[in-house]
Amino acid sequence: MSSDQPFITDDSQVVTETRDARMTGQGDRFNSRLREAFGSSPFILTKFDKFLNWCRGSSMFMLQFGIACCSIEMMHTYAVKHDLDRFGSGVPRASPRQADVMIVPGTIVSKFAPRMKRVYDQMPEPKFVVGMGSCTISGGPFQEGYNVIKGAEEVIPIDIHVPGCPPRPEALVYGVVKLQERVANGEAAPVTVKPYELEEFSDLERDELVDKLADQIDDDELVMRYNFADSP
């Protein structure tokens, strides 16, 4: 109980009636370790940001988001035996609007990338992403595929990469806990501009391909433009 730990008041000097009243006569139920740590003081002193980060990190709502093989291991991580809920992050939300964390469990292909970007955009800030498996790192075993996106980071920013094909549930738990640690410490990933962004078709630079598709696609239709030659 050193004083550099957060939320702990040094109560060695403070013994008051209030404290005694709180500690006795209420039954053991109320004498939690937290109560002991707080001592007589019903107040804690901390920075608001720090407190909020601690709250965020301790209760993360995951987006229920299954893409490919890794989602099977992700389901096992949520379910019995591995039980991600033990770490305060096991509530899968069906809607991105209620979620804090998106686990990207699988290969991203050209047709799905715009949808994933849209789902990511729909999540409220602050939001965090755990990339699960090799496909979200580099395209994994499908990197050579003609319509496979070479890593989810081409489309959305990723905070934690969990390697494996697929990672074991233990590995995913470790990744999520690491993310919680980072969130609690206030270290989210810096958001960078991604090569593949959703754009309106009319905003694209005019070239041969855009000219060719001009009569098929409306000007205000959202599109994603891929340049596979420049992909890693």
């Binding site: 490919a68 949808r115 694209l204 696609i217 239709e221």
Partner: protein, 554 residues
């Protein structure tokens, strides 16, 4: 219902010799191009329907397994692999060459409904146009894609644009004058009930479904291209695990192993076959458990307990599989000519673990019956919903539990035996209900049959003499099957007939590697089951089909 074929064989299963078939087709045949598995008849591209209809109606070839298309130096070619539901060992290939400059071929869709999607895929990936096709659009790649990726002149590095479209209601005009007005509803591609990244374009008329169209391709990760760029011996085997990734890895690996072993004429030692059979059935149990778990969740969100129970049982099977193969999900355990290593030491421990699992399985199954199949809510939602009549199922090329739930007695493990199945005592499960409930029941009873198979395999393996434990045949370091040999071979995967078509060109890599995915054909039946039903029944029907999108899209 048993390994013995029914005594009464109807006319459909009467076997014709290739010459009889050629005589039947008469002038339609312009040439012969036999494959290793079946006689092949080359026909003109404008006589596809006539040929298929003759074979279907007069020779009893009522199962179009797959349409595989490819491009040669001088021509395009579509191959229709036909079989009989009554006896899948009777096969015939209809080879349709098309012009190199203007690849147009008549569509087989009016004869076999299943050809719809298969031909769309051939158009999408290879670039063959099908005349008289009802709806020839891209199916796996975005509509705006440039080029056909498995054709010869495709440039992989070219830039592409994919749209995020607002889907229009396809029925809006149809209902303008009618009393009813329709609403368009997108289900997916990111939706908890779609089992992955499937998009259902649904048109509702009130609470009823007027039209549903599955939109796939959100997980099309070029599996066929990956296989075509790998060498036979080692580089292809890791990929099958990732087609049907619901722990059905060994079943998929067997599909490739069977095709490649028959192509290269490799004999697998008996001991390895027993291990394969045991591992494959463990995978089937795991896969059916997940189907059960997610189906229960689809029916009622309150069935999370069932989900947890089923996952718990899956963990047990996965532990056994991990002991056997070293991996939880992506096993990569089969090798051409055998398996990669023997059973784990100490063997007794592995056997006793397996026996423990088998001993508690009847209790679990009983528990599932208590929890869901005898549950009134569950029965109300599943009995007599999602009806798939057997004739429709056959027309769409449905296989596996979906076909068997419609009373189609078709199981390749018995009808086209491979591995050690024909030496063991087990039954093929069918149900005649044709509804969602029957399909679930088939899966649950199949779990028990699989347990029977595993038990017999364990007995066999336990008594196997120590000096005859040969896990691997002699296979050349580099396999180079003869130029221009073609083969189509299928196994009974967790979802149905999982087939591989390989064309060898004399090198150590396949020139064409086509995957016949059971889910791809099964998913096509969804509109038949869902149209006219209520919207929750669509979700139930989809859940009972048990599609896995990695296998649908490949």
């Amino acid at each position: 219902m048993s390994l013995e074929r029914p005594d009464t064989v109807d006319d459909g299963a009467v076997e014709q010799t290739p010459d009889e078939l050629e005589a039947l087709l008469g002038d339609l045949v312009v040439d012969r191009d036999d494959h290793l598995n079946a006689p092949g008849f080359v026909i003109r591209p404008d006589t596809v329907q006539e040929t298929l209809r003759t074979l279907k109606q007069q020779a009893g070839y009522d199962h179009l397994s797959v349409v595989s298309a490819q491009e040669y130096e001088n021509r395009y070619e579509s191959i229709y692999h036909l079989k009989k539901y009554d006896d899948p060992t009777q096969e015939v290939s209809v080879v349709v060459p098309a012009d190199k400059d203007d690849p147009v071929s008549e569509s087989g869709e009016p004869v076999f409904r299943t050809a719809d999607w298969h031909e769309r895929e051939a158009y999408d990936l290879i670039g063959i146009e099908y005349d008289d096709h009802p709806d020839l659009r891209r199916i796996l790649l975005p509509e705006t894609w440039q080029g056909h990726p498995l054709s010869m002149d495709y440039d992989k590095d070219r830039p592409q644009i994919a749209t995020l479209p607002e889907h229009a209601n396809p029925l809006e005009d149809h209902h303008k004058d009618a009393e009813s007005d329709t609403m368009f509803l997108n289900i997916g591609p990111h939706h908890p009930a779609t089992h992955g990244v499937l998009h259902l374009k649904t048109v509702l008329d009130g609470e009823q479904v007027a039209d549903v169209e599955p939109d796939i391709g959100y997980l099309h990760r070029s599996e066929e291209q990956m296989a075509q760029s790998g060498t036979y011996r080692h580089q292809i085997m890791p990929y099958p695990d990732r087609w049907d990734y619901i722990s059905a890895g060994l079943l998929n690996e067997w599909a490739y192993a069977r095709a490649a072993e028959d192509l290269a004429d490799i004999e697998v030692p008996e001991y390895a076959q027993v291990i394969r059979t045991m591992g494959a059935e463990m995978c089937r149990i795991a896969a059916h458990m997940l189907a059960l778990a997610t189906f229960a969740l689809d029916i009622n969100g309150d069935f999370t307990a069932t989900f947890m129970y089923a996952i718990n049982d899956r963990e047990r099977v996965q532990n056994l599989l991990e002991d056997l193969t070293g991996q939880r999900l992506m096993f990569n355990y089969f090798r051409l000519g055998g398996v990669v290593w023997d059973l784990p030491e100490p063997r007794e421990e592995f056997f006793s673990k397996t026996r423990d699992f088998l001993d508690q399985l009847p209790e679990s199954v009983e528990e599932y019956h208590n929890l869901i199949t005898s549950n009134e809510v569950f029965q109300m939602r599943t009995i007599d919903t999602g009806i798939l009549p057997p004739e429709v199922a056959k027309n769409y090329g449905a296989t596996g539990p979906v076909a068997r739930g419609s009373g189609v007695d078709y199981d390749l493990r018995r009808d086209d035996p491979y591995g050690y199945y024909d030496e063991l005592d087990w039954d093929v499960v069918t149900e005649d209900g044709c509804d969602n409930f029957s399909r679930l029941l088939v899966r649950m009873r199949e779990v028990e049959e699989s347990a029977k198979i595993i038990e017999q395999c364990v007995d066999l393996l336990e008594d196997w003499p120590e000096d005859e434990r040969n896990i691997q045949a002699n296979v050349p370091r580099t396999l180079r099957p003869d130029d221009d040999t073609e083969i189509y071979r299928a196994v009974e995967g967790a979802k149905g007939e999982l087939g591989i078509y390989i064309r060898a060109d004399g090198t150590d890599k396949p020139a064409r590697f086509k995957i016949r995915s059971p889910c791809f054909s099964n998913l096509q039946t969804l509109p038949e089951m869902a149209n006219g039903e209520y919207i929750p029944d669509v979700i139930a029907a989809l859940g009972s089909l048990d599609v896995v999108l990695g296998e649908v899209d490949r």
